[in-house]
Symmetry: none
Amino acid sequence: MRVIVINTGTELLLGNTLNTHLAFLAREVFPLGLRIDQQLTVPDGVAIRDALTRAMAEAEIVFVTGGLGPTTDDLTREVAAELLGLPLQQDAAVTTAITDRCTLRGFPVTERILRQAQVPEGALVLPNANGTAPGLYIAATADHPHLFLLPGPPRELHPMFRGSVWPILGTLLNGRAAPACRTLTLACVGESLVEAKVGSQILALEGVELGYCAHAGEVDVRVLGPASIVAEAERLIREAFPHAVFTDNGEKLEAVVVRALIERSETIATAESCTGGYIAHRLTNVPGASAAFLAGYVTYANEAKSEALGVDPQLIAQHGAVSEAVARRMAEGARAKANSTYALATTGIAGPGGGSAEKPVGTVFVALASAGAATHVQKFHLPSDRETFKQLTAQHALELLRRRLAAS
Amino acid sequence: MRVIVINTGTELLLGNTLNTHLAFLAREVFPLGLRIDQQLTVPDGVAIRDALTRAMAEAEIVFVTGGLGPTTDDLTREVAAELLGLPLQQDAAVTTAITDRCTLRGFPVTERILRQAQVPEGALVLPNANGTAPGLYIAATADHPHLFLLPGPPRELHPMFRGSVWPILGTLLNGRAAPACRTLTLACVGESLVEAKVGSQILALEGVELGYCAHAGEVDVRVLGPASIVAEAERLIREAFPHAVFTDNGEKLEAVVVRALIERSETIATAESCTGGYIAHRLTNVPGASAAFLAGYVTYANEAKSEALGVDPQLIAQHGAVSEAVARRMAEGARAKANSTYALATTGIAGPGGGSAEKPVGTVFVALASAGAATHVQKFHLPSDRETFKQLTAQHALELLRRRLAAS
């Protein structure tokens, strides 16, 4: 079934408010086997007329959010009724609910507020537990698609969708099978490499849909289609990248690492120069991280590397702070100080300043010290803006540890 | 001028990714006197054809994001060229830029990657400092509107928009009067307090438009209208909140703090428990931070508080790790170890676990130690999800230091 979402709201088009409705609705309908084919944002006021006319001509299900309130720029209800040729009637039960709600909160019951109790003939009222304007459902006929008019505020929309819209959709879609969907996330691999290695093989599968979404230091590879085809595509990806796939359920890299550490009753410390605390921040974003993360040392100044981690000032003088030798000592020093199973260290040149011919901006050393093995140091060249550099470096560091944990 | 935005990306319609492009573009074009009249999201692939056809028939400026990459579902460039009847030509300069970028990073230069160097005849290339796919600008003719094809990843889109698109729009809109616009950002103040204190006074000004955008721990208050009215509104806000306004140009709180420290040749260290390195991360995001930020100690475990900062284990046993006494010692310990002018410390209960009746989830102590004054400790109650809690706490800590620097 073709689904179109219309979001009304001038604040969305001015950039004051981020549109979270599309993502919410998309995730809610997906398990029912529905996908949103198109989404439109229009300002408050009369623009809803054109958008709704067009959407009703093209879709089988239309969701509209916003424009049900009491103010003059709220026109969704009136425009929908007019386009469908349905007279608006004052609904007694909704009138009582609105009056009660206003009385309870000490708001005056004005004519404008009661306008929200007007219901197109034959429409189903969707109760609003968190606001005055109810939602409305108008079932499809030969002339128009299913139409859901829903409130704009997320705290009103979300419970209404789950409480009232879901059951209606369930009835409409009775017996319909959802396509399988699998999203694999690969660390430290670019989308073009995935495409080059397995793209044509996957696209040769009958009925498959393949998509990519790249983030700094990782890529989501999404496959949709019949279950057996999706399973085959997943097999191809995992075979081509036996180590890089770290989740198939959207779990973050730091969460995978923290979970693996907790499962093994092992612990981690960090010694960060160029990443400036970002790795510690990511690890401590994971609920329950305190069971695995012991301490982080953000040793930005050379003196701090010596004071906090015991790095010999002569070593820094000899090799420079951005060097394999210093990265190694930072990791080993952090592990010794925190008494942890592992320690990750980073030292590099984030830029924009500080680069040289020998060590240009983007040069970084990542070290992993551990109880059971020699310290491993890897050099990377990740020229980019300062924040992306921190993200990419953190990604390489966390991935170094994740692979160690996965391999042993 | 009528402006339409088309965002391509199946991930947006599946709800995997929140669409932040609309809000970004809306805010960027607003100071030029442009508003976005409509926005559309379509999936990757051929759906761009219908959307673009329709938008080109209705708008005077069309922005498209996404679909410029190397993979098979990226069709924006090809479809636009086809609809406009412009042949695609391999651009030598872009080919070189892409080849250099890949070589620098050790990626193979594949045919698919080089497809990104195809440019419709007569289009202007918008350089991409953070990715391989350049943007494209095709100037309006009698037959079609101005068309901007822009990359999907925000870290590529944002600098390209500011660096290349803005100047072009400035030329297009030459002489057009943009309304005056002033955005003041207030730390640790809620939008409803701003509204309650000055909302009605500002709205009483002739021709003013007032908007709010709340973030965790700060609020943007935006005033639009004739220049004299905007100046009067700004005066009202600053008078009502003489200390909370920290920028009128979008500068981040951490950047204001780092700049003030550098101006005074002073330095900072951090001792973080519940914020887990987030304050250090924010401070080190600021270019040049190494001149002011010396060291951060992420002392998650109690042992780390003692080992790294010299907090007496008995003090922790007596008062608990989340206490005024421990926050104070953490800040003083960090300042002594790093030999810095100031040190900020945080200790609190981020949740979801770890709360008690006496110290519920959201309890947090923030301490500021300094060379010239007694250590100041403040208690807050900030119940929220884990990441918001870290943001709010970091905001209070940075604001404590900013006000100290502003006052002295």
